[in-house]
Every structure is written in C-alpha cells, then in structure tokens.
Symmetry: C2
Subunit: 164 residues, 2 copies
C-alpha cells in the first residue's frame, strides 16, 4: 500500500478534538440526566421520540428507522424500559407480525420532567459556549457528514459495501 495521506495538523486537531469532545460531553450530559431524572440518554431519546408521535405510540420498525437504531437494539431497550414501566408493547391492527411501543403515563411524566433539565444541560455544556456562527457551522458539518453516510449506508447490519 502506498503511503497514506496522514492528517495534517489542523485535521488531526479537529479529529482528536471531536473524539475527545464526544467522550467528555456525552459522559457529562448522561450523568446529569441520570442524576436529575433517573434516565439514560437512550431512555431519553426513546421517550422524546415517542412523546412526539401521534398517539404517543409508534411501530417498532418505524421508530427504529427514525432513530437510526437497529431493531434489535430498540427491542432490547424497550424490554428494559417496559420493566421500569416507562413504555408498553401493543399489537398492531392489520399486521400480526407488528408491534408498537406505547408511552405510559409514567413515561410521559418522566419525559416532561426531564426535558427542561436536559435542555439546560445541553446549553450549559455546549450550545451556550459557542458563537452563533460556530453553531451554524456545526450544523453544516453534521449535515454534510450525515447526508453522505445516510445515503450510501445501512442502519442495521453491515452490507459490506466497501469502496475500493
């Protein structure tokens, strides 16, 4: 193999910084969420998605697709959340394979309580630290990368589609 194009100084700074930021930021936000609300980030994401769904329920495959989770991951997670009373499973009319997740009263209360505190956490630990321009550029960057990855990729198991 020919000598690869190693990252230059700026690129390495960005890449390492990005990874380090994720590590710390994720840990911090997860910890605050757990301490204040007793929820993990995945819990929060599921509840948040569900609370925006019509009827506060959604088919598992649709929810998984919307969240970019594998069905397997969602199924496992729902099982755990179900045991804590945050959601329930329900059959789907018209497709006996199907299953929906439904937000329980407890789950709704949990997300309603958690949301304000979570937003504050996000502001305090990243958004409010940045200039409006930086916020916009971060959005641009994410859009570019996501578009590229979402189109030529897979959400569940690897397709093995490899360039080169």
């Amino acid at each position: 193999m020919a000598e690869p194009r190693w990252l230059d100084e700026d690129e390495a700074r960005a890449w390492r910084g990005y990874r380090r930021m994720f590590l710390l930021l994720n840990a911090r936000i997860a910890r605050e969420l757990a301490e204040e609300c007793g929820l993990s980030e995945p819990d929060y994401d599921v509840l948040s998605m569900l609370s925006d769904s019509k009827g506060r329920s959604e088919r598992i495959k649709d929810l998984a697709a919307r969240m970019l989770w594998s069905q397997s991951r969602l199924s496992h997670h729902i099982t755990r959340m179900q045991q804590r009373g945050l959601v329930t499973r329900e059959e789907v009319a018209g497709d006996r394979r199907g299953a929906s997740v439904v937000l329980t009263k407890t789950g709704l209360k949990a997300i309603r309580t958690a949301a304000p505190s979570h937003v504050e956490s996000v502001r305090r630990n990243i958004i409010d630290l940045l200039t409006p321009e930086q916020v916009t550029v971060l959005g641009d960057i994410a859009e570019t990368v996501v578009e590229r990855l979402a189109t030529d990729s897979t959400s569940d198991r690897g397709t093995g589609a490899r360039p080169g």
Copy 2:
C-alpha cells in the same frame, strides 16, 4: 421551574445533527476498522497510544489519564486485549502496586497495519468532506467544549450559573 430556554432552530439543528453524525460516523468507522483490521475503536486507541509511548509501554494509570478513560475501563479492556495477544501486563519497578501495559509484537504489527486504512476511513467519512475552514471551526468548537468540561470536573448543576 421557570420555562426553560428551549433550543432555537439553528441550535436544535446543530445538536440533533451532531448526535446523528456521531451515531452514523462512529458506526461506519468502527465497522470499517473491524472488517479490515479486526480491531475495535477502543482497541485501536489503546494500540495507537501505546505505540507512541516510550518503550511501547505505559503505566495503567497514566495511560488511562491520557486517554480520559477510567482505570476500570482500561483494566477490563487490557484483559480482553491480552487474551488476544495484543498487549501484555508487566510489573513496575519501584511501586509494587503498579502495572504497565506493554505492546506485543503482534500488537505493534496490528497497529502498523491498521493505521493507514484507518486514516483513509477518517478522511473518506468526514475530513475530506469538509472545507479547511470547517475543519478549523470543528477544532475550535471541540477545544472550547473540552476545555470547559476538562477543567470543571465537578458539576455546578441546578443553578444555571456559569463561570464567565
């Protein structure tokens, strides 16, 4: 609690985009690394750090601190990597509590093989998609957030008070 300051459109776009980008980017890069080199990202990180250390070995506590990992995490991971022959443990002269991780010949070979392919992966999936300006801004953002999180190790939750 008063009505929180919800994220505006740009902020929400940045935050959601960032999370989505991480989800997809991490999955993609991890998958390529696993398929091409048989390494996980944490494997790669440990090997990469070790290969830059003097003597290709480092004390566990120092390595953990440098990587921003908990000692426990590193200890667990080293156990798994040890079983695959990538590293070994070694006693430390002068402190009988201590232990070092040492890169094996196999581990060195693994990281040397993996590095070029990993850099290509990073380029293909993010760095080369961005303008130089975006790369710089990403580095700036990460620096800002990391600095804040690294210094402020104990949280000042609840008040919304922020150091100026």
